[in-house]
Amino acid sequence: MELILAIVIGALYAAGLYLMMRRNLVKLIIGLVLLSQAANLLIFTAAGLRSPNAPLIPPGEKYPVGDFADPLPQALILTAIVIGFGVIAFTLVLFHRAYQSTGTDDLDQMKATDT
């Protein structure tokens, strides 16, 4: 199980990074999204896949019954996902505006501030 997910994570990272190194704004952001998916899945997997049961306490009980998935990484990922959403939304609009003001979506033509 971990093996499968580890490979998926690796593939997501590879694809995300590869896309980010293209010249196109759109590919860049798609790469970013893949990267954030990869990171979330990584936390999930690295923390250990303990059980298919959600970490919920059944009504009438004080503690979860039987085995249950580790809740902490879930909380962390939730936070990371939502932060990632904010970041992606902003970045997306930024790229849109960059396209508007430079008139191109070719990143190679956006180097006026460096040189």
Binding site: L42, I43, A46, A47, Y63, P73, T79, V87, A98, S101
Partner: protein
């Protein structure tokens, strides 16, 4: 204590909320912001005072003990950073009232400034790795928005690089947190520190795994700190927003990276300093040279300043990197010198936190009057704005490490530590970099202050000058105040060094930090047992 340690994040947060509610009243936001910043200075000073007198302070947020709840810890280094950031924030707020146009003000400039400080202060104070990530993201997001606020083309282009590279760093940070949790099962920094010691004693075969983690955090913080060769976002973007924003960025953003690196590589990753800190040291050296050469190649006021930061980050990392010698020497002199090196880093960080922004603030006045930041098109400021010239000089010479200003002390302490630790090469680079820094400062001076006013300068236009001079005092006063701080920094170098040594001592011996954190006893079988009965 409850209030004091949380105030550096609570205050900006509440005020930012209020300013958001005052969205349509930018002028009210201004004064709210200023009041908030002043209050923040008070909180920072109070926190520093308490820590200075009573030692490391901590708080378990939401009342859950470590390592389960989120810990806030204030030691000397972090409280100094909070205080310094607040002072700088106040200065920049005043400056912004003139420097930031109304259209920017009315799109949340002041709340953003506060939220940026919230992120920064949170990053300084938190004792939890994931919480640090969250504060990094707050800071980062606020910086994204401040960087792009105004929508100029240059801002967009710079921001793309800034955003992308910083997001890569965030992704690495997040991955590192994930792996860290997977490997150690905890997120609390003090607990991690204990774990590392435990692993070193009981399962030494797992130590290389910690080194891998160290490398991940090194990269993540390295990007934020603009460490060589991860600095590209900085020269690409720092000069694009209004100078007030450049200033606050130069003051705070990279510092948080350096701070985190200093924290992690003294508190947690001390198991293999021979490898990890050597890498830091080498990269520090490259950064110094590379940054200063980059600055030498620039021809615009703020671009020079921006590129320079890369080099100064090198200095800051040097003090951390010098810990490498603990892998080879265990004598008292070495320990003292390592402590001194770390104190050098702390002093350099604080020094740079005032000096570099002040230069950016000066550049803002120069650009406002001269109409441009291009050195070729500037001139005559020594003649027309002698006071500004003096304040530039104080800051520039301090940056170049000219005694007795703040930069000299920072450099001197690092060099002294480096020599005592027999790291001659890095000392050589540090000194050489100092010379080149001097060169690029002098370059600005000669071009913008010494040359005559160019004929096509807008300075000759009376209408322009009337507009430029309007409200310029609110730009000059903060510059003057920081300049005074820089001078005082040199005058009181002795006590400042003593405090920095104390702070470094706290960092190098994490026991005070760990003891301050309120751990909670928890034995996981208890609940299960009850459940089994029922």
């Amino acid at each position: 204590m409850n209030w004091l340690i949380i105030s550096p994040i609570l205050l900006p947060l509440v005020l930012a909320c209020i300013m958001l509610l005052l969205w349509r009243h930018p002028v009210w936001q201004r004064w709210t912001a200023l009041g908030g910043m002043v209050a923040l200075v008070g909180c920072g000073a109070g926190l520093f005072g308490v820590v200075y007198v009573h030692g490391v302070q901590s708080e378990q947020l939401a009342g859950y003990g470590a390592p389960f709840g989120i810990t806030f810890v204030a030691d000397l280094f972090s409280s100094i950073m909070v205080l310094a950031s607040a002072i700088l924030g106040t200065a920049v707020t005043v400056y912004s009232m003139t420097n930031i146009e109304n259209r920017r003000e009315s799109f949340g400039y002041y709340p953003l400034l506060h939220l940026l400080l919230l992120g920064v202060c949170g990053a300084f104070l938190t004792g939890d790795v994931f919480n640090l990530f969250v504060f990094f993201e707050i800071m980062l997001m606020a910086s994204f928005v401040l960087l792009t606020l105004g929508g100029e083309r240059g801002q967009m282009e710079g921001a793309i690089k800034y955003v992308t590279l910083n997001l890569i760093s965030s992704a690495i940070f997040l991955a590192a947190v994930g792996i860290l949790y997977g490997m150690t099962g905890t997120l609390n920094m003090a607990d991690l520190s204990n774990q590392v010691v435990w692993i070193a004693e009981n399962r030494p075969e797992e130590l290389p795994l910690l080194t891998i983690l160290a490398m991940m955090f090194l990269i993540a913080f390295g990007v934020k700190a603009a460490m060589f060769p991860l600095f590209f976002w900085l020269p690409a973007s720092y000069h694009t927003p209004p100078p007030a924003v450049s200033a606050i960025f130069a003051a705070l953003l990279t510092k948080v990276g350096v701070y985190s690196m200093a924290r992690f590589f003294t508190l947690i990753f001390t198991h293999d300093v021979g490898t990890t800190h050597m890498i830091i040291l080498v990269l520090a050296g490259f950064g110094m040279i590379c940054g200063v050469l980059g600055a030498a190649a620039q021809n615009e006021f703020r671009r020079i300043l921006a590129f320079h930061s890369v080099s100064q980050i090198g200095y800051m990392l040097m003090g951390i990197g010098l810990i490498v010698m603990l892998a080879h020497r265990d004598d008292e002199i070495a320990h003292h010198a390592v402590q001194m090196g770390l104190a050098g880093t702390i002093i350099f960080v604080v020094h740079h936190l005032f000096v570099k922004p002040n230069l950016f603030l000066v550049s803002g006045v120069v650009e406002r009057i001269g109409g441009t930041g291009e050195l070729k098109k500037l001139g005559g400021f020594y003649k027309t704005e002698p006071l500004l010239a003096i304040m530039f000089l104080i800051s520039a010479l301090s940056l170049a490490g000219i005694p007795p200003l703040s930069g000299f002390w920072a450099k001197y302490i690092l060099v002294l530590a480096g020599l005592q630790l027999e790291q001659y090469f890095i000392v050589f680079i540090a000194l050489l970099t100092g010379l080149l820094t001097l060169y690029s400062m002098v370059k600005i001076w000669a071009a913008a202050f010494w040359t005559d006013v160019p004929d096509d300068s807008p300075v000759h236009n009376a209408a322009h000058m009337a507009h430029a001079k309007h409200g310029i005092r609110r730009m000059i006063y903060p510059i003057a105040v920081i300049a005074v701080i820089i001078v005082l920094f040199g005058v009181f170098a002795g006590p400042i060094f003593d405090v920095a040594m104390e702070a470094a001592a706290q960092m190098l011996d994490p026991s005070a930090y760990i003891e301050a954190v309120q751990f909670e006893e928890f034995s996981p079988t208890l609940g299960r047992g009850e459940e089994a009965d029922s």
